[in-house]
């Protein structure tokens, strides 16, 4: 990495680049893992400087004032299911952490706050492999944390590990490498928290105005649910987080995952109308 790039990285984290320079630098960041690692380290360095200031709590009434201002200017936000996080970023953080600590990424850690198994029911995480016309589900017995953030972290670690090491995916998925030219992917889903990650690769480019919708069908109850629109933009691959409503009836350990291409632009679609591009609606 040359001095000029290092200088740009410093000015980037100090917010000293103009918008044009910033955009150009962010393009670089997308393709250069070492640069991303450097930026993350510089951000942590600055974070330490800010936290090193004498810490003065904000006046206690301030949160109420903020809430009042939000309510007075309230425009309801979309509460439709949306796939909210482009996971590939976190994968980069993982790489950064692993490099910094000199350790490999590890899989799950059982939390002391973990959800005790209901009698006769072993909690599982579903690992779903998908290609252009089929899907395979394996229910892996796993104790997941009840705490929402911790549960997210556990799933994230699983998804990240498979992203880095697809050869560790169980069963059929091992023989279905992600490099499948007709599109392939996998999902990690916790039926209890209704949180999951989906990874996709090599999907065909969408027609203009169309979107990729992620669907889940519970094979036990035959309930079908839309998990949201995958915000692929101009990419053909990515790792994404999704969550279903807490009261979603999707809860068994036999859930089919599939992606369709739809002309719709919001996730209110009650059933798929478009072409199946990945996975299968039955298992």
């Amino acid at each position: 990495m040359n001095t000029n790039t290092e200088e740009l990285a410093s000015l980037y984290v100090l917010d000293e680049l103009n918008s044009e320079e910033r955009q150009a630098f962010e393009k670089l960041l997308e393709s250069d893992t070492h640069l991303l690692l450097l930026v993350r380290e510089l951000e942590v360095t600055l974070e330490d400087q800010i936290r090193n200031l004498p810490q003065q709590p904000a006046p206690t009434q301030l949160f109420s004032s903020i809430k009042e201002r939000i309510n007075s200017d309230f425009t309801p936000k979309s509460v439709e299911p949306v796939i909210t996080i482009r996971w590939s970023t976190f994968a980069s953080w993982g790489i950064a952490a692993a490099l910094l600590l000199g350790v490999g990424l590890t899989l799950l850690v059982t939390s002391p706050e973990s959800n005790p198994a209901a009698p006769g029911h072993q909690p599982v995480v579903l690992i779903v492999g998908m290609d252009s016309n089929s899907a395979f589900v394996e229910a892996v017995p796993t104790v997941m944390a009840v705490d929402e953030s911790e549960n997210f972290l556990q799933l994230a670690e699983m998804a990240e590990t498979y992203w880095q090491h697809p050869e560790q995916l169980p069963g059929y998925i091992n023989q279905s490498p992600l490099a499948n030219t007709l599109g392939s992917g996998y999902a990690v889903f916790d039926p209890q928290s209704k949180h999951g990650f989906i990874a996709i690769q090599n999907l065909p480019l969408r027609e203009k105005g169309k979107n990729y919708f992620l669907w889940l069908r519970d094979s036990g109850s035959n309930v079908l649910e839309c998990a949201g629109i995958i915000p692929l933009q101009d990419r053909q691959q990515g790792l994404y987080f999704f969550e279903l409503d807490e009261d979603s009836p999707i809860s068994s350990d036999q859930v089919a995952f599939f992606i369709t291409e739809e002309a719709a632009a919001d996730s209110k679609l009650s059933k798929p109308l478009g072409e199946l591009v990945l996975g299968s609606d039955h298992i």
Binding site: T3, E6, E7, A9, S10, L11, V13, L14, D15, E16, E26, L29, R40, E41, L42, E43, V44, T45, L46, E47, D48, Q49, I50, R51, N52, L53, P54, Q55, Q56, P57, A58, L62, F63, S65, I66, K67, R69, I70, P76, K77, S78, V79, V82, T84, I85, R86, T89, F90, S92, W93, G94, A96, A97, L100, L101, S149, F152, L153, A156, F241
Partner: protein, 192 residues
Amino acid sequence: MSSTAQQEAAIEEAFLLAQVGVGDYEAFRKIYDRYSTPLYSLGLRMLKQPPEAEEALQDTFLKIWNNAAKYDARKSRPFTWVVTIMRRTCIDRIRKMNRVPEVVTFESADDQDWATPETVRQTAVRHETIDQVEQALKEVPDKQKRALELALFSGMTHSEIAQAMEQPLGTVKSWLKRGLFQLRNTLTKPAV
């Protein structure tokens, strides 16, 4: 905070921001609880006056509420993202007040005795971190440190910093980079 703990906190905070992005008040409250103290402290450092810092903090959290859905973890860590919003808000206020940006220093941190409700362990860990950061700052040459202080807390652009320090722009950019790298190298150096 250890690197691992910092990574985990960052991932959790990105998750909370995603929740805020779809209108989750509870997640917003958690983000407020985590960030309000360091952001308010930054506001006080930049604006000097508590009422101004309070206004800036309110504006910042409104911006977080309205823009959380746009947060992109590819571009920055969650804390960096909110600090950038707070700094820009403070800079706007400084300019509206038509105030000449003041020179503020890392060292003046010692001058004030602001109480923070912390557990004994948190206090010990924070003091350890502060000691490390202060030690790291001591190793940064004065001019580089001053350039960093101006960039972080005064709201000056690097051109303004160059003017204030009567140095060519290229020199200031180089000082900022070298100062920041020096801090990074010292803070990530394994303890002997």
